[in-house]
Symmetry: C2
Subunit: 387 residues, 2 copies
């Protein structure tokens, strides 16, 4: 047995024990030993290390069946580690302080000025974060880092935002700048990828094997989670379905191509289409017109519904996921759209042999999913349980 | 250190050494030790086990630089293990006998009668295999199993073909029946998935990290290989892009839906379209009409070329692969199509931020890819190097 093999197994075992406490908490040492098939001695040693590091704490439970008998169970010390999750969008951003178990301690929503430069935007975010830490009396020593979720393409290796059409950002060195501005460690990723992480870790699809999450919002995107890991592809761009072509004779897309999926369902595209008829500025207004029975509004919404069905069907064909999570205003906010999709469109568009291959769920974390996922990203990046 | 950890490491190390000999052959014991960072003693023990099992043999090389000095190198004993690879298609099937290193020793192509039943088809295949073994004097003791590649959906767990529209097969228990008919172990998988395996192991994309293979043939399909493993999805149907919808107002597909991708590029679809104008029976005839300058033939082929470009672009967007392998008659046989795609369509259809994210290659195993891949499937399933 080589030394590096021993170290490898030690680290692997520690991570396994930590993950079990995290997901099964509260749990006893004996149950961890049973689950992992490791010896009680090994478990005791590892647990003691985790307690000494402050990640895990003991809780005492009174046995219900045998009064007087007490059991010592283990749980995460949820106050030991904090992360900051930031969601950055076209016209707003959110800052959340999140505990060790993914619970939001404090969250605030801010307006993002139109036309603001990347640098100004980052300064504003840093200042607001500082204010939150002071006002909420957050112990900044417990903050291990900041995670940011952004609509667009991110280079994970250097933390540069390669392209965000929605923010109008090109090659912006977010991680380096935010580190300087805040003094914290910083990680950044695509918003849908961090949201997928959150849904997998804390949402309704916890522990599934293969899950696709599809976001219908200001753009359209997807992410595939395989055994808890995000499938990223070669340049962290896997799942960018917004620019798959679904009609070569279709509408012009802002990317320069024609007939991209997002031209039929991105919120902005729907508003642009509507403005060809009458001036409106939001999805809600479009839905009002639809409820008034305006035919043109029905046409736009019916087409969006059809393409949402097609999107889900196509994602099922390429990824063959066991679970599909849909998120975003169009499917979360308007119950009518959701029921039409579930009752009609999926039967119509999903390939017959795959009709029973998946379970469709609506995002259970809702509008805080990106903040929680961004926090989790920071936890994954900056939490070091390996002494 | 637990007993099961030790066994795990022993098996892991043996596999690592075996894979290195397989891919780097000929290689010396010393070089294996250097590459793996395992001790020379460990390497010697593992190599001896592999020699005793008959999988590896020594070869003696005369040193060029120091005459008289000889080096003992290791290589696979390519005659020690044989597998049978079978490709089953609508109107033909192929049987290949393949050695340990993926080389075809013997291969034959057979006509498959139209309207033949699954049982008759399997009997015919078994009889032809028996004839090949006898005529070619193959030592059947060396055959560790049969692999079959089939166009359609396969349940990997029980070896049942769930659906093959091209063969007209539904719920056919191929593995069980072929075992009885041949007496060999049998494994079956989707043809494109085994082809991807072959391209990854022996083809031009050997050792790539993320590769998508797209087949343009009697249907349209894709497969994603991540670190040498095929991404299968929940029901082994990942990559079934032939039934993704690319035009909700499009042509009727045999699956019952409308506007499926394969209605624009599957060989059969092109022939059906052509027959609306003039009776033709093959792709070659369609290309003759195209070369004669018949406008309708140009229209069909131009549209197919556009959709091939769109298919590649969409696969790049969803899988973000480093390498894309295209295969099938349309791209392998007609150089004109290939060059139009490479020079025009990809610039037109691939999303700009991904234009430089991939390398496009044409299948290097050509028409034998499925047979080699099916053999490899049998090797993976039935080769047991773990004493």
């Amino acid at each position: 047995m080589q030394k590096h093999d021993q170290d490898y197994i030690r680290r692997k075992n520690k991570k396994i024990v930590f993950q079990i406490i995290r997901s099964e908490s509260p749990i006893s040492r004996a149950d961890i030993a049973r689950t992992t098939k490791m010896s009680p001695t090994t478990i005791s040693r590892i647990v003691q290390e985790l307690i000494d590091q402050g990640f895990v704490k003991e809780m005492e439970l009174q046995s219900m069946s045998t009064p007087g008998r007490r059991a010592i169970l283990l749980e995460l010390d949820q106050t030991s580690v904090l992360t900051v999750g930031i969601e950055l969008d076209k016209s707003s951003f959110k800052i959340g302080i999140v505990d060790f178990e993914g619970r939001i301690i404090h969250i605030r929503n801010f307006k993002r000025e139109a036309g603001i430069s990347p640098d100004e935007s980052m300064v504003q975010i840093s200042q607001e974060l500082q204010t939150i830490i002071e006002q909420q009396k957050i112990d900044s020593n417990k903050i291990i880092g900041i995670g940011i979720g952004i609509p667009g393409l991110v280079n994970l290796e250097n933390g540069v935002v390669i392209l965000s059409a929605q923010l109008g950002w090109n090659d912006i060195d977010v991680v380096a700048k935010m580190k300087v501005l805040t003094g914290f460690e910083v990680a950044i990723d695509n918003e849908l990828k961090v949201k997928a992480l959150a849904e997998y870790s804390y949402g309704g699809v916890k522990g599934t094997t293969r899950t696709a999450i599809i976001g219908f919002g200001s753009g359209v995107g997807s992410a595939l989670v395989i055994d808890g890991k995000i499938y990223r592809g070669d340049t962290n761009s896997a799942g960018e379905i917004g620019h798959t072509i679904v009609d070569p004779n279709g509408v012009q897309c802002e990317c320069g191509k024609v007939g991209c999926l997002q031209t039929y369902i991105a919120e902005n595209s729907l508003i642009i289409e509507a403005n060809k008829v009458t001036p409106i500025s939001s999805l809600d207004e479009l839905f009002e017109k639809h409820q008034e029975g305006q035919l043109w509004a029905n046409t736009i919404i019916d087409r969006a519904i059809a393409y949402i069905g097609i999107t889900i069907a196509n994602v099922i064909s390429v990824y063959n996921p066991g679970t599909v999570v849909v998120s975003g205003n169009l499917v979360e906010k308007y119950a009518e759209i959701r029921s039409t999709i579930e009752q009609n469109e999926l039967q119509k568009y999903v390939w017959k042999p795959l009709q029973n291959s998946y379970r469709l769920v609506v995002s259970s974390l809702g509008s805080n999913g990106v903040v929680i996922g961004a926090s989790l990203l920071a936890q994954n990046e900056f939490l070091n349980i390996e002494i």
